[in-house]
Symmetry: C2
């Protein structure tokens, strides 16, 4: 690789602009560590005049990022637009086809088109790096790809969405309701101001789990949606009851191999306060790997924000500057296979169930009878009084059964007029 | 790099033999991930006939490892003998001079001769890799060198010795005395059977701290011994009192930059059970980094044993197989400087002190008067009854003062005949 390296940054939002500044201020360190001189020769964003915390050089600004690839001699391109399709995909495609190394923070893009883009990178003998797509500043992908490279990993799980973890922690700390805490998270920049849905409904964490699975299990990125649930139905009541039980609610992303089949899921979990994962609070992310011979490996750090994300983007850049061409998923595309999906109806666990019901005789017995009918035994039952005297909350913690049995059992409740809302389901999780 | 890679393993103890087996069983994965075929063509150990859990190929056995370097065409050599000097140093030196890549698990060697050996590697354009020297299977060195490469790290600390952490945890769990728990640790293979001194007295952790400092702060490996203490003076009483205070005793290695000066230390710490580090128990190791812009980064995993250590050794090998020549400490020797040492007499903290005294009038007042004389104020005082009625244990937790003041204050106690043993000192540590 030549000594002088030309950089382009596409997307100058929070992360792009932070990275732009880091690249400019850390030129010397980068040269000391890699022997390369970097130079940002092109930038692109929707709006040149948007107010930004650092000044940009408008002489190198392009409205159309595809023009940069055509007109300039770029060595490394940062794609920081986001979204799985549209212009971000076009830019990455065009860059790879033009033998430009690509670094991206775009998890939706990699989770959806990672296999295709990675084939493109391999074919054109350039790098496609995406450390920043999972768990912000935690160097988890590099650790799987390199530090733990020869381990046989059988399970990976963790707290992969800082927004959700902040909201759940803050509900517990402030005893405030979901809607208020969400507003606070938006104010602090921990949640998207306009559309926080992808964070809250589990989709964001699921993209990350897909990327992790593929790297941990040396497989193609899965296409099936196993079980994706978010935190949007969590009520302050749930947080309080969990606390009474010495537990916390966490949104976990979990991926494991069961009888050779891939089981990927994102859902809320009740975890003990005495566990590792139960103590990862606020905006922190954590990833836990079970591997052989490594045993259990735990990584924790800030999961989002321009600082940690830039740290990952820069580590990708230094990796490119230092080394040979690397396959994006270590093993070539043709040597990675799709794994068969596990049928999550067979997933066996204990559930926390919250029913919002009319407070009148016979309602409880309808619920307990139905559970009994399906052989679902009750471990605990907590009925909490409600301000509105006509309504009661019934919380039940069940013994273990499988998802399909639970589903069949619950189907009848939908038509029960005394059950006022969809049941809130939280799965118990033992580390 | 050519396609067929010749490997030598020097040292066939627990780790060497495990690695030997891993290399043989994982050839395919390694080829899939790197495109290289590896072949172990030479091994060496003190005793060819020692009983080993895996069979070795005696046709490739050499009594003298230096002969291997002379006679065979080796590409990568694993040094797994241990000790900072003697044959292990000679082998590594000879290998590097003969342009052979070296991978070692020998922390004593790297902590003492790392700068010299690293210059040798740079000069001969080969790799010298030592991920396995710190925190067993946790890919911490690679994370500092690569994953967090452009962060400005200001502090690194953690639990770096699994033997000590196991003993402290097990004393708490079993309520058994130090000597018995040490025996148990030796039986389980967690402590050296013959001479566990280097683990227990803090030297082992200090070697690791030196290596971590050098990588975190881009400096030469320090030569000065700041503050090295072990766990050999910890009594079951200390464990019990700590528990009463909702605390635990941990042996921490800590390195930070204070006013541009390097402060490296290893000593026992009292930490709250509510902290991260207070919950890293058993043989687990943990490393915490404070960096910018990363924030706090936490790594936890098994710290020792042949499995985790082999995982690190193999990751080093894959790094060599995949990439260009890398400087052992990222930045070249000539660009790393020695940092001035912080004068640890200025270190300010609260202490836990345990005095074993004759149980007679006036003894307590001698202690408290002396503390008062040095302006050391007492935060808590716990006098515990002793089985032997003529002896009492006095535990004092002080407010903050500096090391030099403490030292001056304690000097007089040495000649006090009523104080029967050297004071047990544990420093309070707030995360």
């Amino acid at each position: 690789m030549k000594k002088n390296i030309n950089i382009a940054i596409i997307g100058l939002g929070q992360i792009g602009i932070y990275l732009y500044n880091e690249l400019n201020t850390k030129k010397k360190t980068i040269e000391l560590k890699t022997g390369k001189k970097i130079n940002i020769i092109a930038i692109s964003a929707k709006n040149i005049n948007k107010k930004r915390p650092f000044k940009i050089n408008k002489n190198i600004f392009y409205n159309n990022p595809l023009q940069i690839i055509k007109k300039k001699n770029i060595d490394i391109l940062f794609e920081l637009i986001g979204f799985s399709d549209g212009i971000s995909k076009k830019v990455v495609e065009a860059a790879l086809k033009n033998k430009i190394h690509v670094i991206t923070a775009n998890k939706a893009l990699i989770a959806k088109h990672g296999d295709y883009l990675s084939d493109l990178a391999e074919k054109n003998k350039v790098n496609l790096e995406f450390e920043a797509t999972v768990a912000g500043g935690i160097p988890i992908l590099r650790s799987i790809k390199e530090g733990l490279s020869t381990n046989k990993i059988t399970k990976v799980y963790g707290i992969l969405n800082g927004t959700c973890n902040y909201i759940l922690s803050e509900m517990e700390n402030s005893k405030d309701i979901f809607a208020n805490v969400l507003k606070k998270a938006q104010k602090l920049g921990y949640a998207e101001p306009l559309n926080p849905r992808l964070d809250l409904n589990g989709s964001d964490a699921f993209s990350k789990i897909r990327i992790l699975s593929s790297l941990c299990f040396n497989s193609k990125i899965s296409k099936t949606k196993c079980l994706i649930e978010g935190i949007d139905n969590i009520d302050i009541k749930d947080i309080e009851i969990a606390a009474q039980l010495n537990m916390r609610i966490k949104l976990l992303g979990i991926s494991e191999i069961i009888n050779g089949q891939l089981f990927e899921r994102v859902h809320t979990c009740l975890v003990s306060k005495d566990t590792y994962i139960g103590n990862v609070n606020g905006v922190m992310n954590a990833v836990i790997l079970h591997g052989k011979p490594i045993g259990n490996s735990y990584f924790q750090g800030e999961g989002a924000g321009p600082g940690p994300t830039s740290s990952s983007l820069l580590s990708d850049m230094l990796s490119i500057l230092r080394g040979n061409i690397k396959n994006p998923f270590v093993i070539t595309g043709k040597n990675r296979k799709f794994l068969k999906s596990y049928n999550f109806n067979n997933y066996v666990n204990s559930l926390y169930l919250r029913f919002e019901v009319k407070d009148k005789p016979g309602v409880l017995s309808v619920i307990t009878n139905r559970l009994a009918e399906y052989n679902i035994s009750v471990k605990r039952l907590i009925q909490t009084p409600n301000k509105n005297k006509n309504i009661a909350s019934i919380v039940i913690i069940t013994h273990k059964s499988n998802e399909s049995n639970f589903k069949n059992c619950f189907s009848a409740f939908k038509n029960n007029k005394n059950i006022l809302k969809p049941i809130t389901i939280i799965r118990l999780y033992n580390e």
